[in-house]
């Protein structure tokens, strides 16, 4: 195949009909705040781990709502539970607790 110096990006389309929301619904039952996030990104901007590890709570919630659970859990492994995101969240979400609940439901230590 010819090399043009650029390539076709793999498709990022998600078929929502194929996504199983059972775990996310369970998360929302014990953490109703998960639905309050408006994806402003304040948590990601203030996260000391994001700059060098790609950790972003905004992206984690985004991934969970699109069935990309493995990706979400992989990001959460970098969380140090420092709680800075809780201090800046404009919706008053207890993000630290939310992260712990996600880890519990998605079976991550």
């Amino acid at each position: 195949m010819m090399d043009f110096g650029f390539r076709i990006s793999p498709s990022s389309a998600v078929n929502m009909d194929d996504v199983d929301f059972e775990l996310f619904e369970r998360l929302c039952e014990i953490e109703p705040d998960a639905r309050k996030c408006m994806a402003c990104g304040s948590c990601s901007a203030t996260c000391p781990a994001s700059a060098f590890s790609g950790m972003s709570l905004r992206k984690v919630l985004h991934c969970l709502q699109r069935g990309k659970e493995k990706e979400a859990v992989r990001m959460l492994r970098n969380c140090m539970l420092c709680g800075k995101c809780t201090m800046v969240c404009p919706r008053g979400i207890n993000t630290r607790h939310l992260i712990l609940s996600i880890c519990k439901i998605y079976k991550e230590d």
């Binding site: 195949m1 043009f4 650029f6 390539r7 076709i8 990006s9 498709s11």
Partner: protein, 356 residues
């Protein structure tokens, strides 16, 4: 969406387009990519329909490419546009028609900005006077050239020699219409049919006998997007957009694509070659691609103009299978002959995409 629903939306977005007396400005890039298109627009409007169209060699770019590539400030673009309006005023015209979709969007954006910030218009008038001692009146009406072909579509259909119909089966051709993003996505009320379901090309296709295909990524960008293509690091993004569109339209087996933007036909045409070389995939029948046309080229074809006079030999995807389908006569020997009948040289043939 059901067809009746679309009809209602289209009825809400109809434009009262003046019939005659237009000041015409060309596009920067169309003359290089598809040189027969703008010639054919003037040929149809002036000589076939007998309308009054004026163009001047003194007009320049509208600055849209540089503006959308973030290389010049908006005041500079406004001064360039003010000069174009001054040329129109000096020529005694009030209706302004642009060949380029981005120019069309650019003019509308600037007029709207002046409406909301009149002090900016005053500033631009001063800048224009200081730079070239010109004054201007704002156009009474701004149209895109496809609006006019849409307006004249039934007159063209009456004079047509061919229809967009498969000569052998009698079935209407399956046509994909692709509208440039800057046509109505910025100002829906200024486009025929609005932003969601623009009718400008559908109207032409229906009048000339074709069948419009509705497919999932119909309103998706062709992928040009200025900074996506002009910055080589982003070029994969441009290609991926086009790939997404072709993957989406493939199951509907389109016979041809019609566009009304300078960039779209170029990228939908050329990227088919790149996709074939990268993925080994072609989207037309028997290893050919799906031919992509500008609306002026299609108008010229149905009116019976010679395909090679329309510049169709400059397309990457071979147009001959479609010409055969419609029943348009052409001479394969004349394909690479210039107007003076001298050989204009043959391009190298691609490895995978089949060409004539």
């Amino acid at each position: 969406m059901i067809y009746q629903g679309k009809k209602k939306i289209w009825a809400d977005y109809q434009k009262e387009i003046p019939d005659d007396h237009w000041f015409y400005v060309r596009s920067c890039i169309r003359q290089n990519f598809f040189p027969g298109s703008e010639f054919m627009f003037l040929e149809i409007c002036k000589n076939v329909l007998g309308k009054d169209f004026f163009e001047t060699e003194h007009h320049t770019t509208c600055g849209g490419i540089a503006y959308h590539c973030d290389t010049i400030p908006q005041e500079t673009v406004m001064t360039i546009v003010a000069r174009q309006f001054a040329l129109m005023t000096e020529a005694g015209y009030e209706n302004y028609v642009a060949s380029c979709i981005t120019s069309f969007g650019n003019y509308l954006e600037i007029l709207q900005t002046w409406e909301e910030f009149p002090e900016l218009e005053t500033k631009i008038r001063e800048l224009l006077w200081k730079s070239c001692r010109r004054e201007f009146k704002k156009p009474k009406y701004i149209a895109h050239a496809s609006d006019l072909i849409f307006k004249y579509r039934n007159e063209i259909a009456e004079k047509a020699r061919f229809r967009l119909v498969n000569r052998k089966t009698g079935e209407p051709l399956k046509v994909v219409e692709h509208i440039g993003c800057h046509y109505a996505k910025m100002f829906p009320s200024k486009g025929v049919g609005g932003a969601e379901y623009p009718y400008v090309l559908c109207g032409m296709i229906e009048s000339w006998g074709g069948n419009v295909i509705d497919y999932p990524e119909r309103r998706h960008c062709c992928g040009y997007g200025f900074r996506q293509y002009h910055v080589k690091a982003n070029r994969g993004y441009s290609l991926s957009n086009t790939y997404k569109k072709f993957e989406s339209m493939e199951p509907y087996h389109p016979d041809m694509i019609i566009t009304n933007c300078p960039g779209c036909p170029y990228f939908l045409d050329r990227w088919q070659y790149v996709i074939s070389e990268m993925e080994g995939k072609t989207y037309g029948e028997n290893g050919y691609g799906i031919p992509v046309f500008t609306y002026e080229e299609v108008a010229g074809l149905v009116l019976g103009y010679d395909p090679w006079d329309l510049g169709l030999q400059l397309h990457q995807v071979a147009v001959e299978p479609l010409l055969d389908k419609i029943g348009i006569e052409y001479s394969p020997e004349e394909k690479y002959k210039g107007l003076d009948k001298k050989d204009i040289l043959r391009p190298e043939l691609p490895g995978i995409l089949k060409c004539c």
